[in-house]
């Protein structure tokens, strides 16, 4: 047995060492992998239809993406993902050919070429203080063939040339503390009005010469009540703002530089009172105010008199105003009614004139409409047509036109926060495989084509046919489980609180579901999702039950807000149950026990230090009480630099009648000195990781016993000074210290200090090793260190006879209180790339060698064999070590271009990589998410346990047939010859 394993392992090593890097041929792209491009939830949209035939919309999103979308199909023409700290504040079109974006709190202004998205210029603006930033592209302001763009940010007002990005002039408002709210430009005038507030209580109007930036006139007036929030400009000389109590509308007139206030109580306009909110849409001479979840439209009369003209029910989204023909201005509003949404476009001047009224059936799982952007086009009969771009609660983007959804984009998938995997249903016996797959003739034809291809006889058409066949081959997108476990579902939870099930075969959405609030209360209209757990994975018993996932959510953003648990059936995507739990959710701990229906036990900790057991059944309670003494939990307090360990104490029956609630007691604390160490990263092993063996065999047949424990916590701390940006400190000031802490006893098993190094630390923890990535300030390079942990107390188990007879305690359960002696081996290497995230491949039995999956700063994923980060590497490995696959030590880790698993693609805004085992031991699923999604299957040691997809069965079949025929013919011939010999 052991011998066979040795042989197979040796063969495996030979196979894997034959080709060091994983690589792909061009025609294999897209066979196993898929890539989906997203942009995120749209914040602003600017339509661009001046030139006919180029129907595009420019959008900026909350994922810091600026993109140009095709209005016909919703495809991305071009897209730029700005960095995570480069949030877009405004987007507009200038000169009809440039897209202007303002980002990074108004400090970076960029122009992109409209047709192809090339960057034309970039200007960084001087900002002195953080303030609201404002981008304004005046339409008809022009001097010397130049069109200035006005930007207010950080206390400065800049005029920037739209042609080359040169700053034409800037006006410093930092001394006064003046906040610009609006830049208005009367038509046919070179004077611009800059309106803003001073300390939220004084309205100031500057008249500025747009050519030179000089202040022509300045008027200010103190408003005793103080202002709050946004101002809404209603005409070229009037704005409306709310006072600080949010109950009075203040109309500010600044005609000819004279400021006048006019107050109107909201309670005078409508019966309801309460906190009002001016909706940001700008309607000329009209104001939309949201009071008590109702939207009222207020018209501003000639003398600043306000009158209510219309009111709408609460769930209404409104668009900006849009000039249509004949100096008229229209706006759109969308409201829900049952499962339908109603899109209404009205003229601002005349609310009774409805230009468009459409009702569209809308999927319940898209939630409510959040934003509307409208655009008009001229129909063939010269009337106005309207198209509306709407952003839904689940972040999806839809285009409505002529009463139908023209296209939709699931932009929620750009903000995935947690991912888990799930199995597909088992294929029903009744369905014949042959019918689903192919007929035999098709099968043979396909294989003949493949054979032609492999014998280099195929014509170009054949090659294309083969490629097409491979792309949609073998039911890779079927909705049933397959023998190899290649078909699976990835369940993704998005920031909008929507669950998506993605098929591994082609990446399509099998089902999606928006989390519902368990109660109808107003406080929690929609819970926000926190994390996902596998609740029930039937594989031994309870096979008739569908697997389900647990979604832990929360009502509100505060950590003490009550939690929501939702169970979702994986096969159907239906919510089995959704319940508000009466306590907050701070941590969730899946326990390694399941009940008779294979529901996993979970402990949920709340802010009070109690833990709650789920599912709330008596069976779960009895299972938990059996293991009561052996369950611990720990908390990491990043601010205080404290790690606390807790044990279960008793049922909290004294305080509440809930028998599933337990109190805890503090067992240990690890306190890091706050003046020298700050926790920047913690990591544990994945709880579901499978480890094949506890022994590591070295070249000279020596055995090292791995210290494999789930109760190990990797903690990285850095000096408080070094917690900032890279290279902001000198090497002497920053020290990186890593710890391995036992989370049961609080014992520090290992401590390693790196002088002159700093974070950010990206780490991966698997089996008995940790690999982490950090910055070395002395060498000015990134470094990767590997630490392997071995158990010293087991090392005496070397007597062969005892092992043969089974007289050892190597498989006996171990306790952390037995204080195992351990030692570590570590090694460091330079690494040329900055890293966003690191993951490791995981396989079903843990036999296959591992690869590190490194998400690089370029949003690609690099697969690096674990053999490169092996502390046993030496400068001159012996022959035996070489045969075992030990690579000679080099100072830096190689980056082999072929081992990028994303090949030519980029996973923009990469945030995480998830791996899951397939049933086939050699293969692992890899799913990477960010703004984009990427999936591929990896075989870190090649697919040693199955034939590859392009294996020619036809060739094998033909060879066998030919051999059998040859044997038969030669047999006949030899018979004949023998007979004639005998007759001679």
């Amino acid at each position: 047995m052991a011998m066979e394993i040795r042989v197979s392992l040796l063969l495996l090593i030979f196979l894997s060492s034959a080709v060091i890097s994983f690589s792909l041929y061009e025609d294999q792209v897209g066979l196993m992998d898929w890539h989906q491009r997203y942009i995120g939830k749209v914040k602003h949209a600017v339509f661009h239809t001046q030139k006919t035939g180029r129907k595009r919309v420019i959008v900026s999103t909350e994922e810091n993406v600026v993109a140009s979308l095709d209005l016909r199909h919703g495809e991305i023409f071009w897209r730029h993902v700005l960095g995570t700290n480069d949030a877009i504040d405004g987007v507009d079109i200038a000169l009809g050919k440039y897209v202007i974006t303002l980002s990074s709190q108004g400090s970076v202004l960029r122009a992109w070429n409209l047709p192809d998205g090339q960057m034309v210029w970039e200007t960084s603006l001087h900002t002195a203080q953080s303030s609201k930033s404002l981008l304004s592209v005046p339409i008809n302001l022009k001097f010397d063939k130049d069109y200035p763009v006005l930007v207010f940010s950080g206390g400065y007002l800049h005029a920037v040339s739209a042609i080359d990005g040169e700053v034409l002039w800037k006006k410093d408002f930092t001394a006064e503390g003046f906040e610009v709210q609006r830049v208005l430009q009367p038509p046919e005038s070179s004077i611009i009005y800059v309106l803003g507030f001073l300390h939220s209580s004084e309205a100031v109007v500057y008249q500025i010469d747009s050519k030179t930036g000089e202040v022509v006139a300045q008027k200010s007036m103190v408003f005793p009540g103080g202002f709050s929030g946004e101002i809404s400009s209603v005409s070229s000389d009037k704005v409306v703002v709310l006072d600080s109590t949010r109950s009075i509308l203040v109309t500010i007139g600044f005609l000819d530089g004279v400021i006048s206030f006019q107050k109107t109580r909201i309670s005078d306009l409508v019966e309801e009172s309460g906190n009002a909110e001016i909706l940001s849409p700008l309607l000329s001479d009209m104001l939309a105010v949201k009071v008590n979840r109702r939207t009222i439209f207020v018209r501003i009369g000639g003398e600043g008199k306000l009158e209510v003209v219309d009111s709408l029910s609460d769930e209404t989204a409104m668009s900006d105003s849009l000039p249509v023909a004949d100096n008229q201005v229209a706006f759109a509003s969308v409201h829900h009614e049952g499962s339908k949404i109603h899109l209404i476009v009205k003229l601002v001047d005349d609310l009774d004139t409805v230009l468009l009224r459409e009702s569209i059936q809308m999927d319940q799982h898209r939630g409510r409409v959040h934003k509307v952007f409208i655009n008009n086009y001229i129909k063939t009969d010269r009337s106005n047509g309207f198209r509306a771009l709407i952003v839904m609660e689940d972040h999806s983007l839809l285009l409505l036109q002529q009463g139908a959804i023209v296209w939709s984009r699931e932009e929620g998938l750009a903000s995935v926060i947690d991912v888990t995997t799930a199995e597909l249903p088992v294929a029903k016996d009744g369905v014949s495989v042959a019918k689903v797959e192919h007929t035999l003739v098709d099968w043979l034809k396909g294989h003949m084509l493949k054979l032609k291809g492999s014998l280099l006889l195929a014509s170009p058409e054949d090659v294309a046919a083969i490629q097409e066949m491979r792309m949609k081959s073998s039911g890779r997108s079927k909705l049933t489980r397959d023998h190899n476990g290649f078909r699976k579902l990835f369940i993704a939870l998005t920031r909008a609180g929507k669950l998506f099930a993605l098929h591994t075969g082609d990446g399509r959405i099998v089902w999606s579901m928006l989390l519902k609030s368990p109660s109808k209360s107003e406080a929690c209209q929609r819970p926000s999702g926190i994390s996902l757990y596998q609740w029930q994975v039937p594989h031994h018993h309870a096979m008739d039950e569908n697997p389900s996932v647990l979604v832990v959510g929360r009502c509100g953003s505060d950590s003490s807000a009550p939690g929501v648990l939702s169970l979702v059936d994986v096969y159907t995507g239906k919510e089995i149950s959704s319940s508000g739990i009466g306590h907050s959710v701070v941590q969730v701990m899946p326990l390694p026990f399941t009940d008779s229906t294979e529901q996993r036990l979970h402990l949920i900790a709340d802010t009070e230090g109690h833990v709650h057991l789920y599912p709330k059944t008596s069976e779960a309670l009895s299972i938990f009480q059996r293991e009561f003494q052996n369950v611990y939990w720990y908390t990491v307090e990043g601010d205080g630099g404290i790690i606390r360990g807790h044990a279960m104490k008793s049922s909290c029956a004294g305080e509440t009648a809930d028998e599933y609630c337990f109190t805890t007691r503090e067992l240990w604390t690890v306190v890091f000195p706050s003046e020298s160490e700050k926790i920047i990263s913690t990591l544990t092993r994945k709880p579901n990781e499978v480890v094949h063996t506890q022994a590591k065999v070295s070249t000279d047949q020596d055995v090292l016993y791995k210290y494999v424990s789930r109760n190990l916590l990797f903690v990285a701390t850095v000096s408080p000074k070094g917690a900032g940006e890279i290279s902001s400190v000198t090497p002497e000031e920053s020290t990186l210290v890593v710890y391995l802490i036992d989370t049961i006893t609080g014992r520090i098993l290992h401590r390693l200090s790196h002088q002159g190094c700093q974070g950010p630390v990206h780490a991966v923890f698997s089996e008995n090793w940790v690999v982490y990535h950090y910055f070395n300030l002395r060498a000015h390079k990134y470094e990767v260190t590997v630490v392997e942990i071995y158990d010293q107390s087991r090392a005496e188990n070397k007597n062969v006879w005892k092992l043969v007879l089974g007289k050892h305690n190597l498989t006996a359960p171990i306790s952390s209180y037995s204080r195992p002696e351990m030692f570590t081996k570590s090694q460091s290497y330079f690494f040329a790339q900055s890293v966003k995230t690191i993951a490791v491949t995981s396989t079903a039995k843990g036999i296959t060698s591992k690869q590190l999956l490194i998400g690089t700063i370029g949003d690609q994923i690099l697969a690096l064999d674990k053999r490169f980060v092996d502390p046993r590497r030496t400068l001159n490995p012996s022959q035996a070590e070489k045969e075992e696959g030990i690579i000679p030590l080099t100072d830096s880790l190689p980056i082999i271009p072929q081992s990028y698993i994303t090949h030519s693609l980029k996973v923009e805004g990469l945030r995480g990589i998830v791996t899951a085992p397939a049933k086939l031991e050699s293969t692992t699923h890899v799913f990477a998410y960010g703004v984009d999604l990427f999936y591929t299957r990896l075989a870190p040691s090649k697919t040693y346990d199955s034939l590859t997809d392009d294996f020619s069965y036809a060739l094998l079949l033909i060879t066998i047939v030919a051999l059998v025929a040859a044997i038969y013919i030669t047999w006949v011939l030899s018979e004949k010859k023998e007979l004639s010999e005998k007759w001679r």
Binding site: M1, M3, V636, V800, I814, Y817
Partner: protein, 180 residues
């Protein structure tokens, strides 16, 4: 070795034994020709025939010794081949090793048959047989030694623990940073 096998092979259907040594005429259907006496050669040339028999026995013994020592050459050749094959597991070394194991085993199985041609009342075959056995056992030992040097024998602790799963843990813990 091979000759003996061919003669003793099971494929024989019939045979005429020309070296009939029997002295009793009644055992035959045909009478002896007149003037032929069966007893005469014994009486006449008993001394010479004894000499002949001795010579034959000596010759048989000599041959038996030769057969007994023949594995030694094999052994040397095997040793050379093994040295050539090296200490890594690949097709060649595996083939060599297995043939080195198979040859002595098959020889040991057929030791009786190999020494059958030299069977004689006067020939003492025990010593050659013992030598033959010892040499073949030596070959076998060489093969096993080779197997061990290739690392294919479970003689190390590592062979017995390499597939031991990690032990269960008594305690379970969870936690970390609290959710934001």
């Amino acid at each position: 070795m091979d000759k003996g096998k061919a003669v003793m092979g099971a494929g024989r259907r019939w045979a005429v034994d020309f070296s009939d040594q029997s002295t009793v005429p009644s055992s035959r259907d045909i009478l002896d020709p007149p003037g032929f006496s069966r007893a005469s050669p014994e009486q006449d040339d008993s001394a010479t025939s004894r000499q002949k028999k001795d010579a034959e026995a000596n010759w048989k013994l000599q041959k038996a010794w030769e057969v007994a020592q023949s594995p030694f050459k094999n052994l040397m050749m095997m040793g050379f081949m093994m040295w050539m094959a090296g200490n890594t597991v690949h097709l060649f070394s595996i083939g060599i090793t297995f043939s080195a194991l198979w040859q002595p085993l098959s020889a040991l199985q057929s030791v009786g048959k190999i020494f059958e041609p030299f069977k004689d009342n006067k020939v003492e075959l025990l010593m050659p047989k013992l030598v033959f056995l010892a040499l073949n056992l030596g070959g076998l030992a060489l093969g096993i030694w080779k197997l061990n040097t290739l690392g294919l024998l479970p003689t190390h602790a590592s062979d017995w623990v390499s597939s031991l799963p990690p032990p269960q843990e008594v305690e379970h813990s969870g936690g970390g940073f609290s959710f934001h």
